[in-house]
C-alpha cells in the first residue's frame, strides 16, 4: 500500500486553536449595524385551529419594529421531495404541535421583543390530537394535515430475493416486536441565525445550518424568490447530527422581519425551545421475523416498521427507505421483505439523527440475532462472524459491497473486550453485548447529488480550499485540507480552509449520511489534479518535459523519476503568477455516477459505494436492586477504509456511540395526553454526561476502498448504528432480561427481572 505523508496522520484540526480560544463565531455571536432582535411566539396547544391572531397591541409597543405571522409568507409549501411538500414557514390555518411558532417579533432589544410576545393575542379552537402511530392509523382519526386524506405520510414496500423460500429453508424462525421512543437531536448550540437584506432585496443569511444548500433551496422556494436573491454564509456550527438541515421558523422569521424592517434581524433560541419544538427522531414500532439455519446462517428476514414523525414528512421518506434498503447490510441475508410506513402526528416534527434509521433497524436486527443465538446455543461472536458480509458481496437488493473488513472488526472487538475470557468466568451482574453495523458513504438520493471543491492558489504558494460540504464539528475541513496537501505534495500547513459562502463556494447536496469525506474527498483530489495539470503545463517547457511527465512531491515540481530536474513549488507558482499572468485555481467535482439513483418504489439497485463497517462490544454492569445500567467499556472495531485522520475518526466513532447510549438508556421526549411536551429542559431530558459515558477504544481496521479518496470510506455514523443493540444485548448477557422497548429504563429492567424470577 502507498505510504502517505499527510493522509493517515492525526494532524491538528484546522479550527482547533480558534475554537479553544473562544474566537470561533457561531450564529448567535454575530452582530450587524442596526441589528434587531427577534423572538417567536409558540403554540401552547399541540393541535388547534388558528381563528385569529391580533398583533395590533404588540405592534404598538415602543421599540417593536415588526410583527409577522404565517400570513406574511407567500403560502408556498416546501419539502424534501416534490411529492411531500407539506411544510410552511409558519402555520396559517392550524398549529400542529406544541411549541410551533405562530408569530414572530423584531424589536430593538430582546426584552422588548419578549414583552411584545405577551401582547399578541391568538384565538385557537382546540382540536383532538394524534400522538402515536396507533392514533394516526385508527379509523376516523383526526387529520394532522388537512390537505392529505389520511395520516399516512409515506409508505415503502420492498421485496428482495425469494422470501418464501428463505423461510422454508430455515431451521429456526423467530419473530419479535421492537419499539423506540422520541429522542431529541441534542447538539449543544441552539438554532440561531442573523438575516440581512440589502436595498436590492438580496438576502444574506448566516445561520447554524448543517447543509446550507438544502436551506437555500427550500427557503427560496417558500419565499418565492430566485436562488440568486439569497446568499448563505456559514459561521461556525455547534453540531448538527441531522438536526439542522432544513430551514426553520427561526430562519424564515428572521429573513421576513429583515425584509419588512430593512434592518438586520437576529434570532437565537433558548435550548428549551429546541427540546420542545424542533427536530427529533421518529418513534418506531417494528416487527421482525428472522429465519436461520442450524448454524445460525440467516436465510430470510421479514420486517414491518411504522415511524411516527410529527406533522411533517421532513426527511422521513428517506428514513423509511433507509430502514428497509439497509436491512441488506451488514449481514448476508438472501431474502428480505419489508413494509414501512411514515405517519403524521401532533408531536414535534422529526428529521433524523446521526446514523439515520439504520440505528433503529440495527437495534432490531442485532437484538433479534442475539436472541436467536441464545435459543440455538450459538456463540454471539461466531454468529456474527458467520453472517458478516464479506468483500465483493452482492446484497439481495443489489448493493455491491466492494470491501468489507467486518470479520476483522468482529475479531478485534471481541479480542479487546475479552469476550472469550468473559465466557469462562462470568461476573455477577456484568455482561458483554455485541452488535455490528454498516453505513454507506452517502447514497444518491437524487440525480442532483454531487460535490464540488475549489482550490485557489495564492502567489505565496499557499492554497485556499473551499467546498460545499460544511464543517459542523465532524472535522471534514481538516480532512479535505489533508487530502489536498497529499495530492499536491505540500505540507498540511500550506492548505488554508476558506469560508462556506454560497457566493463563492460551489454548494453540494448536503452534509449527511457519511458522504462528505467520500464525495467531497474525491472532488478534492479532482480539484488538486486540475490545479497540478495547469501548473505542469506552465513549468514543463522550462524543464524540457511534457506536462504529463511532471510530478508534485515534497514541495517540489519535477520530472517523473528525476527529482533533481525540477523546481521548488513556490518557484513554479511564481512562474505562473509573475511570468504567465496566470493566477490559477483548481476545480473538481465528483458524483458516484456509476451507482444507481435510489429507486423509491423497489429499494433495489447498487445504491452506494464505500460501506463502512463496525463491530461494537460493550461491557455493562446492571444493578439488580435498582435496575440501573452502567456502561463500563466500549470497544469498536471500525473499518473506515483508510483513516484520513485517525484521532478525529476516533472522536467520531466514540461520539456516535455515546450519543446512542443516551438513546438506549436515558433520553426520551415525553408528552402528556394533550401532546404537550413534559420535559423540554436538560434538567429532565437526560443526555449522557462524562460520568455516564464508558471508556472507549477504537481499533482501526485498515482497508482500501477502490472508489474512496485514498481508499477511505465515509466514517462516523456506523457506531451510532451498532451501539443500542450492543447495550441491549449486554444487559441480557448480564442478567438475562431482554428489553425490546427503548429506552431501557431501570423500571423496565426490574419488571423484567421480576417476570423472570416469577417463571
Amino acid at each position: 500500500m502507498k505510504t502517505y505523508s499527510v493522509v493517515g496522520k492525526s494532524v491538528e484540526r484546522t479550527d482547533a486553536r480558534i475554537k479553544v480560544t473562544g474566537q470561533a463565531y457561531y450564529a448567535g455571536d454575530l452582530t450587524a449595524p442596526g441589528m434587531l432582535h427577534g423572538k417567536i411566539l409558540r403554540s401552547p396547544l399541540a393541535h388547534g385551529r388558528i381563528l385569529n391572531i391580533d398583533t395590533s397591541k404588540a405592534k404598538a409597543l415602543p421599540g417593536v419594529m415588526a410583527v409577522i405571522t404565517g400570513r406574511d409568507f407567500p403560502g408556498i409549501p416546501f419539502g424534501t421531495r416534490p411529492d411531500i411538500r407539506d411544510q410552511l414557514p409558519m402555520p396559517i390555518t392550524k398549529v400542529h404541535h406544541f411549541g410551533e411558532g405562530v408569530a414572530a417579533v423584531a424589536a430593538v432589544d430582546e426584552d422588548t421583543a419578549e414583552e411584545a410576545l405577551d401582547l399578541i393575542k391568538v384565538d385557537y379552537e382546540e382540536l383532538p390530537v394524534v400522538l402515536t402511530a396507533e392514533d394516526a392509523l385508527a379509523p376516523g382519526a383526526p387529520l394532522v394535515n388537512e390537505f392529505k386524506n389520511s395520516n399516512i405520510a409515506y409508505a415503502s414496500d420492498f421485496m428482495f430475493g425469494d422470501v418464501e423460500k428463505g423461510f422454508k429453508e430455515a431451521y429456526y424462525i423467530k419473530e419479535e416486536k421492537f419499539s423506540s421512543q422520541r429522542v431529541s437531536v441534542g447538539f449543544i448550540e441552539p438554532h440561531a441565525c442573523l438575516a440581512q437584506v440589502d436595498s436590492t432585496g438580496r438576502i444574506l443569511l448566516q445561520g447554524s445550518k448543517q447543509s446550507p444548500y438544502i436551506t437555500w433551496r427550500h427557503m427560496c422556494r417558500a419565499l418565492d424568490i430566485p436562488l440568486s436573491k439569497m446568499r448563505i454564509v456559514n459561521p461556525f456550527v455547534g453540531g448538527g447530527f441531522s438536526g439542522k438541515h432544513d430551514p426553520f421558523d427561526v430562519d424564515f422569521a428572521a429573513v421576513r422581519l429583515a425584509q419588512i424592517t430593512g434592518r438586520p434581524v437576529k434570532i437565537v433560541l433558548n435550548y428549551d425551545e429546541v427540546l420542545a419544538a424542533y427536530r427529533q427522531r421518529n418513534a418506531m414500532d417494528a416487527k421482525l421475523r428472522i429465519g436461520v439455519k442450524k448454524n445460525g446462517e440467516i436465510t430470510a428476514l421479514y420486517a414491518e416498521n411504522i415511524l411516527e414523525g410529527g406533522p411533517i414528512s421532513g426527511i422521513g421518506p428517506f428514513n423509511i427507505y433507509y430502514f428497509g434498503a439497509f436491512l441488506n447490510i451488514p449481514y448476508k441475508i438472501p431474502a428480505i421483505e419489508y413494509h414501512g410506513k411514515l405517519v403524521y402526528s401532533n408531536r414535534a416534527p422529526c428529521g433524523t439523527v446521526r446514523g439515520q434509521e439504520i440505528v433503529l433497524a440495527q437495534f432490531c436486527i442485532d437484538s433479534l440475532l442475539h436472541m436467536v443465538g441464545e435459543d440455538l446455543g450459538i456463540d454471539q461472536v461466531e454468529l456474527r462472524a458467520i453472517n458478516a458480509v464479506p468483500s465483493n458481496w452482492v446484497c439481495a437488493n443489489g448493493i455491491v459491497v466492494d470491501v468489507s473488513g467486518l470479520s476483522e472488526c468482529i475479531e478485534k472487538a471481541s479480542e479487546k473486550i475479552g469476550w472469550k475470557e468473559s465466557r469462562k468466568e462470568k461476573k455477577e451482574g456484568r455482561g458483554i453485548g455485541f452488535s455490528c453495523a454498516s453505513h454507506p458513504s452517502g447514497p444518491r438520493l437524487g440525480g442532483h447529488f454531487g460535490s464540488a471543491v475549489m482550490l485557489k492558489l495564492l502567489e505565496d504558494g499557499q492554497v485556499i480550499i473551499t467546498q460545499g460540504a460544511t464543517e459542523i464539528g465532524q472535522g471534514s475541513n481538516t480532512v479535505f485540507c489533508q487530502m489536498a496537501a497529499e495530492e499536491l505534495g505540500l505540507p498540511f500547513e500550506y492548505i488554508i480552509q476558506g469560508v462556506s459562502d454560497s457566493d463563492t463556494t460551489i454548494f453540494d447536496s448536503g452534509m449527511f449520511g457519511d458522504r462528505a469525506t467520500y464525495w467531497d474527498g474525491n472532488a478534492t483530489i479532482a480539484a488538486a489534479r486540475d490545479l497540478k495539470k495547469q501548473l505542469a503545463e506552465i513549468v514543463a517547457p522550462s524543464l524540457n518535459a511534457k506536462p504529463e511527465e511532471i510530478e508534485f512531491e515534497n514541495k517540489r515540481v519535477f520530472v517523473r523519476g528525476e527529482p533533481a530536474r525540477g523546481m521548488d513549488w513556490l518557484q513554479a507558482v511564481r512562474k505562473a503568477y509573475y511570468e504567465k499572468g496566470a493566477p490559477l485555481y483548481g476545480r473538481g467535482n465528483w458524483a458516484a455516477l456509476d451507482i444507481d439513483i435510489v429507486d423509491w418504489k423497489t429499494g433495489k439497485g447498487n445504491l452506494v459505494h464505500g460501506l463502512d463497517f463496525i463491530a461494537t462490544a460493550i461491557e455493562v454492569a446492571v444493578d439488580r436492586e435498582t435496575g440501573q445500567v452502567e456502561l463500563i467499556k466500549a470497544v469498536h472495531g471500525d473499518d473506515a477504509g483508510q483513516p484520513i485522520n485517525p484521532a478525529m475518526l476516533e472522536g467520531q466513532v466514540n461520539g456516535g456511540s455515546a450519543h446512542m447510549s443516551g438513546h438506549a438508556l436515558w433520553e426520551e421526549s415525553l408528552y402528556d395526553e394533550k401532546g404537550r411536551v413534559l420535559n423540554y429542559s436538560w434538567r429532565d431530558y437526560k443526555q449522557p454526561t462524562a460520568m455516564d459515558a464508558p471508556e472507549y477504544h477504537v481499533e482501526h481496521i485498515h482497508t482500501h476502498d477502490p472508489y474512496g479518496p485514498f481508499g477511505a470510506k465515509g466514517a462516523g455514523e456506523a457506531s451510532s448504528c451498532s451501539t443500542i443493540a450492543a447495550i441491549a444485548n449486554g444487559i441480557y448477557d448480564a442478567i438475562g432480561v431482554r428489553i425490546k422497548e427503548l429506552p431501557i429504563t431501570p423500571e423496565k429492567i426490574l419488571k423484567g427481572l421480576k417476570e423472570k424470577e416469577g417463571k
Binding site: 479553544v20 441534542g186 449543544i188 456550527v237 428549551d272 456516535g656 455515546a658
Partner: protein, 155 residues
Amino acid sequence: MKQDITLKVNGIEYHLSIEPQRTLVEVLRDTLGLTGTKKSCNEGECGACTVLMDDKPVASCLVLAVSAQGKEITTIEGLAKDTKLHPVQEAFVKKTAIQCGFCTPGMVMVAKAFLAENPKPTPAQVRKAISGNLCRCTGYQQIVDAIMAAAEANT
C-alpha cells in the same frame, strides 16, 4: 434602573452602567463582546456558559452581573497569553478533544479550575469534574484524555 458597576474581567476593569436583571453571561457577551463564553440552556444545565469567578467555575447564566462586582472574572478569552495557549487549551488541541467547539470554552474553564485544585487526578475524577458540561460530539473520551495529558504535562 441602571446601576454603575465595576467588573473585572480577564484582568481588565470595566466601568459599566447596567440593569440589575442582566446576567453575567449577557453582560460578557452582549456588553463586552466576549462571545467566547457560550449560552445554550440559560438554566445551569449545560455548562456552556462556564466562567471562573475568583478561580472557581460558575454558570454565568445564573449569576447577576451586579453581584459579580469585586470578583475576578476569567473567560476563555483570558487564558492564552498572546498566541501561547494555556496548557489545558494546548492539551485540548493536541488530544483532538474538540469537535464542534460549542462546549469547548466551558469545558476548558472547568478543566483549568479543576486541575489547579487537583493536579494529579484520576480519569474518574476528571469525568466527575466535567459532568456539568454537556458535549454531544465527542463521547467525552478525548476530552478526558486531554485533561489527563494537561495534568501530566504539569508534573
